[in-house]
């Protein structure tokens, strides 16, 4: 038991490779060719989105832990012809598991949820989450009604799942096991600019 507790990222039951958040985020961004919206969850998730290269269609959360998927759902409902991605940590998702069934009920086909699962609250000192050694994100999502949910086995599988989701007919959830490295960048904490630039990027507003 002590073994399992101390190595949350190497739970033996899973055959998924332990990958890196920044690498995966960079791979995702490189595949976005059609001004897809990307919502970055609190902390490392949006730090790595920022570090992967700012895009006008990126939104960075500076609080409201757990709301990356609900915010992305709102964007997806407002702009049904635009593909929308949301990046969320496993600890953040645990705060708002109820949103998975809401999304399953509304079933927006243009929404792809990516869960970066390292089993720890990296940013607060890498304490294990309450789910770290026992829960399976994909099983939770499937149980909530998101049938199109899968673990990415490795980087190539992640890219395949991302590509599939770009033409999916129902919402997609991709879970990835990641290491406990911190984010490599630091988002500029200017919420009004973040919001305004995102709205410009989505074509909702024109620049002053």
């Amino acid at each position: 038991m002590s073994d399992r507790m101390s190595t949350a990222t190497t739970t033996p039951a899973r055959n998924t490779k332990v990958m890196n958040r920044f690498d995966l985020t960079s791979r995702l961004v490189a595949r976005l060719k059609n001004e897809e919206a990307v919502i970055g969850g609190i902390g490392n998730t949006n730090f790595d989105l920022w570090a992967a290269g700012h895009r006008p269609q990126n939104f960075y959360m500076l609080g409201s832990m757990g709301l990356a998927f609900p915010i992305a759902l709102g964007v997806a409902l407002a702009q049904p012809t635009r593909r929308v991605f949301a990046l969320e940590g496993d600890g953040s998702l645990l705060m708002q598991l109820g949103c998975l069934s809401t999304i399953a009920t509304l079933a927006p086909k243009n929404l792809t949820m990516i869960v970066m699962d390292n089993g720890v609250y990296q940013i607060t000192g890498a304490q294990p989450t309450p789910a770290a050694t026992v829960a399976d994100v994909v099983a939770i999502a499937t149980g909530c009604g998101l049938a199109n949910s899968a673990w990415a086995a490795d980087e190539e599988d992640f890219e395949r799942l991302v590509d599939q989701s770009l033409s999916a007919s129902r919402p997609t959830l991709i879970a990835v096991r990641i290491d406990d490295k911190p984010g490599v960048g630091a988002t500029r904490r200017d919420p009004v600019q973040i919001r305004e630039r995102f709205m410009l990027g989505l074509g909702v507003r024109q620049a002053l």
Binding site: P70, A76, A78, G98, P191, R195, G203
Partner: protein
């Protein structure tokens, strides 16, 4: 109550129920997205919004989830409003302070007021007392609506102010307006 007898009032003020005022004012202001966590007092409003194809409406598991959804939708060009009861508002301090206010999002909230004027659940009466202090501490616009003859004016103007000033607003639906939820035994 002279105003309610009202020769001076437009016909519309005299005949509509409060929930009809909400529905029509949302429509007039192009507010299509209405996620909610239900409340007994909101039952008819929720039913009528579901029945009207103008609206996209659905329940969420938590109030802050609904706040996230309408915030994302607004940034994507679709206006929304959230329906909840007092105890639900009490879960929102973090999302108000970290999303709606700093990002300047015109979050429109209708809060059915439990906890006063005949409350029978002690917990509801306690949590109700946290609502206005939270709103005041964040310097948020809020109105407690008690009269049908003022209601359309308050709702319509508050929605327009929220949107033009890019600031949240809470419209508290008092039992004086709605009848509230009465103790039945």
């Amino acid at each position: 109550m002279a105003a309610a007898d009202g020769q001076n009032l437009p016909q519309s003020f005299q005949e509509k129920a409060w929930h009809e005022v909400v529905l029509q004012t949302l429509k007039r202001n192009e507010i299509r997205l209405v996620p909610y966590v239900p409340d007994r007092v909101l039952t008819t409003l929720i039913k009528n919004i579901h029945a009207d194809p103008f609206f996209t409406t659905f329940p969420t598991a938590r109030e802050e989830e609904a706040v996230g959804i309408v915030s994302g939708a607004w940034m994507g060009g679709m206006r929304g409003a959230v329906l909840m009861q007092t105890s639900g508002f009490a879960t929102l301090a973090n999302v108000l302070a970290s999303l709606a206010i700093p990002y300047q999002i015109p979050l429109i909230m209708f809060v059915s007021e439990r906890g006063t004027l005949g409350e029978f659940n002690y917990g509801q009466s306690l949590v109700c007392r946290t609502m206005r202090p939270v709103l005041n501490s964040l310097a948020m616009e809020h109105h407690t609506t008690t009269r049908l003859d003022e209601f359309e004016f308050i709702v319509d103007r508050s929605i327009k102010q929220a949107i033009t000033t890019q600031a949240p607003v809470a419209l508290i639906l008092s039992p004086l307006l709605t009848g509230g939820k009465a103790f039945e035994k």
